[in-house]
Symmetry: D3
Subunit: 221 residues, 6 copies
């Protein structure tokens, strides 16, 4: 704790001064550029990797960057998403997995989480990820490659879950929101984005600056 | 999104290089200093205010920095906390509210969230906060002061909820974890810490570097 | 009841005899062609409209042909779907809405179901349908046209929900199952099928005999 | 799917014409004779065995013809029943089990459904059936006889569950609804009805055309 | 509290001595005569009205003597009942309502409990009682008579709920447990027992010493 | 049952007469001295040990004297507590565990309750107790001592849970309610009260007549 308290004093005496006007302006309200959903893992700093300032990213973090399908959990995820769309009118949602994710590791090794009932229950919201890996990746034996596939598939599973939330579904239909699937490989600093047309992840550098959204049904009448 | 993608390229070309060794070392695992629970609000950057590097803060964020009591929601909060204590052996948990919190504003003005059913349901986990304000703060009429009281009381309510989680309860009893209640006033850069002995929040600068923990029952035999 | 009992005697004395061999063969197990999900409405007879025999359609029926997203309800829908995919290895799932649907009418007129708490709660699983209609169909004032849009959108919403079920997600990924969105207009005998490429429903007669499936992400590695 | 699409065209070109007037009349509303609750099993066709036309049976189908007790599952069953009683004023409810039921087979052999978590969870609503068989049928060793007993007892257990639904309980008390327990043996075409006075199932042919209802408490004042 | 502490000292110094042998014997285990389910109301003392000693009544008390149907609430009621049947082998279960019950009063006057969300939610488990009163007792205008009817009907509704619990259902079938519906009118000291054959409550004095159980289905094979 | 019916007649013919005036007075309402929460165990008679009359104790009883944390179970416990505080304005809440508690024994021996799913699920609300014992009492090998520690710790865990209930939290803050942790050793007639300042249980005789409440945070502004 000592380090944190010192850090806060350092922030107050140096950094804050240079951003004072920004912070004062922010008392009038926030207008973030995106909802950034990622894992609680300490090795991810969303503001650092996107080089954004306070006020620019609305951030939701939990173990495994999981978004329960609508109605599955009356928890913080549904509320935070609804607030982002309904109140803040955010138009971009990023779900960002990451390399070396402990939660996804637990999904692959149920034995390791047998004594962690809340974690086990929570990973039930990634059961589709587990089934996809079990049924469709049996040919991969390398544990590292399997973990990477799990992280990647889980981002897509959580995007499917995200699309079931009413505020998201209604905004998606009229093109008012776009959903982006990312994986951050912190040891190389790379960010991979899922490209639906190609059906795979590609380094963000190669994607168009304005990525196309995940396809959605058009008006039906 | 354009700004975020540019930011990532900038991060990859400049910042990452200077921290490359740190990130490589972090592939061996994370050993964060604390679990930092705060609101999804874009105006809070936990790493900035504590001046910490990647790997130092395990971060959970949702609308209103709420921690449902044990068993109340089979959601990300219980799992993230259990993972922090059970796997990462984190010894300090900070619940950090903040000024101008929209979620707490919604708690005070149910009409404003009538069209946000997921938010409304989620704020049910802060019902104790609402009752405390309604029953014990009737004498405060200034909306700003009432919001501050709500933010402060809510941090204490969520600490009570946090203490019902089995992994936390067991660790608290043997002194292996400490729980800290903070409120961050972003427009001044101040952080206030709750001091149980005094029954009030004080600027973090004035507290001892090693704050005393919230009191807990001793072994009972 | 009298009519039903008479009908059973009639069935036993006439119809059964002609299908006796079929029924005897079916004691060895069922190998249905599809899982047919439709409303409980008495005006829909799936076997009649598809001209199928016993053993050919595995049928799930509830008010509103609703499929809660995975985890939302520990109910019959999740189990019936899992059984269809996991045990019966069914490769086609049809969600079939219908004209004059009372459940969808209730979704549009919450006042009418105020005294029906279980119905109201159940329609919460079609909340995305309600939001899509409210936010994106404000320009339609004709009640009949609005009900049609609701029925059509609801089928697509329930398909999104269906895709979150682990057994479906894993089978979709490897192309082992196809999901079809239909609307049955019983007063004309027409069946409309949703064509994702066109983003609209077309009479089933005009679709290819082998309709393309709703798009799904490809393997991600 | 090809067969189903062909069937629909055949229906539209031949059968529909002969029932066109019926279908047109049904646009004015449905007045079904009964709520028919049965298994999703493809070998059961309620309209065929009762020789009924569209508009005559309001049908609810799920794996195992299960009706969770009131409040146990906020699912389609409670809503469909409430709609049948509250809106359609249906006066007869039939719960119809069947021979060779795979769901009841799963109840007897938990190992077979270990990899089907949704099915396992759903069969929890038939836990009373499982307990009745385990505790009271230990003397039966023949698997076929045990499955028959399970199917029969399960219909009675689900009738008990059905009676806890408020709309059913209130209607039962004033004699406005009757509940019938049936078992359909598809390989012989027989339908057995439970006779409470005798405490056993008898072929429907032998029962009175108007079966007596399951006994219910009388007004208590 | 002072009165309670004094009472305890008085108990220790006088009453305990006379029952010391009984209490010592009870350390070897309890073999209660019945499971007594009643309201938390302070005016009911089960031991006093049945003149029983410690060790004779296994007692469950909550507001309204409510027993949620099986699966409706993962609460203390299901566990306490299962423990009574499964571990203690209790053979008689009494559900005992009472005159002037505040919980039943709240069921009749929803406005009075609008500010009591937990009470309101809990009374949802007596929704069948509310529906029975609303639909079938419209002819009674006297509030006192209506409350009496509500208390009486609620005991019967809770008996229906109780019968859905697996341990109870299985024991009922083989005659190992009997369920008794009572209403205690504390102002006169009278206890009324429901007689199923008569469909009404009668003073306990008039019933046979061994009341017949509520009817249950017989073995079905 | 015979004994109970005889007891009731005896009560009506002798005891009731002597308390007739009390009972008549109680028709005007109840004003209990305390909410007494204890186990369903037949060996505990709250009125006997506190030497109180009808009207003096509002009593909640379930297996294990468990109080789920707020929101964890929509059950009788939350409602009964809310009614006690919100309607009856009770100012003292006693949670009273006891020696030889079978529920706590089950918590220590999960194997013994493997066939009791409802009990097992219910004891999940005492998971914090189980974790405290497992992690912090590994040095105790004597089963009797371990059971005593479990009973004592469980009372404190349930007090923590109780404090999360909104009505309790709000009343605690302004000193309108006090919470007392007791353990009753029926074989000696002793009652032990937890003294927070000492961090241990002491015989009630030694405590001040007016015990200090469990500490709570003060107003925070
Ligand atoms: Zn992670
Ligand atoms: Zn906030
Ligand atoms: Zn319909
Ligand atoms: Zn079946
Ligand atoms: Zn009462
Ligand atoms: Zn006990």
């Amino acid at each position: 704790m000592q380090k944190l308290v010192k850090g806060i004093h350092q922030f107050q005496q140096s950094t804050f001064a240079s951003q004072k006007r920004l912070f004062e302006r922010l008392t009038k309200g926030q207008h973030p550029l995106a909802l950034f959903i990622t894992c609680s893992d300490s090795r991810i700093d969303p503001s650092l990797i996107t080089q954004t300032d306070p006020g620019e990213l609305f951030i939701m973090r939990n173990a495994g960057n999981i978004v329960p399908a609508y109605g599955a959990v009356a928890g913080g995820e549904a509320a935070t998403i609804e607030y982002a769309i309904g109140v803040l009118k955010i138009r971009d949602i990023i779900i960002c997995g990451h390399s070396h994710c402990g939660a996804m590791g637990g999904l692959l090794a149920p034995d390791q989480i047998a004594k962690l009932p809340a974690v086990k229950s929570w990973l039930g919201q990634a059961e589709a990820t587990a089934r996809i890996i079990e049924e469709n990746y049996a040919h991969i034996s390398d544990p590292q490659a399997l973990l990477t596939a799990t992280v990647e598939e889980n981002v897509l599973v959580q995007i499917e879950n995200l699309r079931t939330h009413p505020s998201v579904a209604a905004a998606l239909m009229r093109g008012d929101v776009k959903v982006h699937g990312w994986v951050y490989k912190f040891e190389t600093g790379q960010v991979f984005a899922y490209k639906p047309e190609q059906g795979q992840y590609v380094p963000l550098a190669e994607t168009l600056v304005e990525p196309k959204e995940v396809p959605v049904h058009l008006p039906a009448i």
